[in-house]
């Protein structure tokens, strides 16, 4: 009987908001799982709710956490604080961006797009150059090869060869024949082992998500876990 009570009305100490919440969440969860049987209106309904809630959430957060502090407050500051007048420029670019909805003025949105694309291009170019390209070259060169015992040294040497062979595999200016082809074959072996590892990890990740949902259903909603 206590189980039935907990199931319907929530465990002692749970507020009505939480009890309602668990029920709504459980129904939505089951609606999504109904897709496993086949595509059906219940699943479509849940999917539409999903899209609606997600968009509303993002919009509200964008307003409260980005637009208000970064644009509205600097332009219309409270008493006694300086106005950052130059924030009018990104404000204009932001408005231009939204002009895409008006066909006659949509060409202005390219200004804003140009700004963002240029910024990302600059930032990513240096980020990848320093953080990935140069840093990984350095790390390969400083792989420890004189310490840690025979097995460790052998594995480190193998890793260095693996890096080089992988790069050779992605070399397109010569036919993969002869020695080059041989190295490329080694590269593909390294890639396959890495993809195998990825495969295993991905399986793990997907299963974890299911475990998370089942924990919710079995513990919070059905009170079957202790």
């Amino acid at each position: 009987m206590t189980w039935l009570h907990d199931f319907v009305l929530g465990a002692p100490g749970t507020t009505p908001a939480v009890v309602w919440g668990y029920w709504v969440a459980a129904v939505l969860t089951l609606a999504v799982y109904s897709f496993l049987y086949k595509d059906n209106p219940l699943y479509r309904f849940a999917e539409s709710v999903f899209v609606g809630v997600g968009a509303a959430y993002w919009l509200a957060l964008l307003y409260h956490n980005t637009l208000v502090p970064k644009l509205f407050v600097p332009l219309f500051p409270p008493e006694g604080e300086p106005m950052l007048w130059y924030r009018i420029f990104p404000g204009i670019l932001a408005v231009f961006m939204l002009l895409r909805f008006f066909p006659k003025l949509s060409w202005l949105s390219r200004w804003s797009l140009g700004f963002i694309v240029g910024m990302y291009a600059g930032v990513n170019t240096t980020g990848f150059a320093q953080g990935d390209f140069v840093a990984q070259l350095h790390a390969t060169m400083t792989t420890p090869l004189t310490e840690g015992g025979g097995l460790s040294i052998a594995l480190n040497v193998a890793a260095i060869l693996g890096v080089i062979a992988t790069l050779v595999y992605f070399f397109f200016s010569k036919e993969h024949r002869g020695a080059l082809g041989g190295i490329a074959r080694v590269g593909i072996c390294f890639l396959m082992v890495a993809f195998g590892a990825s495969f295993g990890y991905t399986v793990m990740g997907r299963v974890s998500l299911l475990i998370g949902r089942m924990t919710f259903l079995l513990r919070d909603w059905l009170h079957l876990m202790h």
Partner: protein, 224 residues
């Protein structure tokens, strides 16, 4: 002019970001910092654009009574209700902790925690089922490479869980599944991904260069 100005903006902003990376002089850094703050604002607007687009697509669907327009009504209704909770200026209704705020305990937060959270997590947990079914029906030792992949995958799958640890208990350490898994991750996996990383970095750098110099302009869309 409709293409030249955006290309010029891209060039100037992109070049400035490159300069900002190499030049620590305070004049450059100060301008750079404000530019980055501008960036967050314009990027926020681009997200607004995406959400606006969504509203437009669903409204059109309803207006034209396209198949599934009922679902579009559901979508827009839920969205409006949640936005009302999240954005309604609370002061006008009198101070309320429930509406017009995103704090813990508000209606907005409730809708997020009990509708968005379960829906998002459940959508992706479907994949556990699909992966299991594909494991039985589609993952095949069809070539030496695929076999190598699957063998590594099986070692990692077992080595990453306590069961695998139990299965090879008692064997010398370097033959246990957890050790083999960690070795795969640290050496061949690391090496291959480093190769991919270096290649991908070059790809991104080349694309960045093309964009900044205006050689790549497909992002601007067609000439209309």
């Amino acid at each position: 002019m409709r293409r030249e100005i955006p290309l010029a903006i891209t060039f100037l902003v992109g070049m400035f970001m490159l300069v900002d990376f190499f030049v620590p002089h305070t004049r450059v850094s100060a301008v750079g910092e404000e530019m980055k703050q501008w960036g967050t604002i314009v990027i926020a607007a681009s997200i607004l654009l995406g959400i606006g687009n969504l509203i437009r697509v669903h409204s059109k669907k309803i207006a034209r009574r396209n198949t599934g327009w009922g679902y579009s009504i559901v979508c827009l209704t839920v969205m409006s209700v949640m936005l009302w909770f999240g954005l309604w200026p609370g002061e006008r209704l009198g101070p309320s902790p429930l509406v017009g705020t995103i704090a813990q305990g508000s209606y907005f937060n409730w809708m997020y925690m009990y509708m968005d959270v379960p829906l998002q997590s459940t959508m992706f947990s479907l994949l556990a089922f699909f992966i299991a079914s594909a494991a039985y029906r589609a993952f095949r030792l069809r070539s030496p490479e695929a076999s190598l992949l699957l063998i590594a995958a099986i070692i990692v799958m077992l080595g990453r869980v306590p069961l695998g640890q139990l299965m090879t208990k008692g064997l010398p350490e370097k033959a246990t599944l957890p050790w083999l898994t960690e070795a795969i991750m640290t050496y061949p996996n690391m090496a291959a991904f480093r190769g991919i990383l270096i290649g991908a970095a070059l790809g991104v750098m080349a694309t960045g260069l093309r964009i900044i110099l205006g050689i790549e302009r497909s992002y601007l869309g067609g000439e209309k």
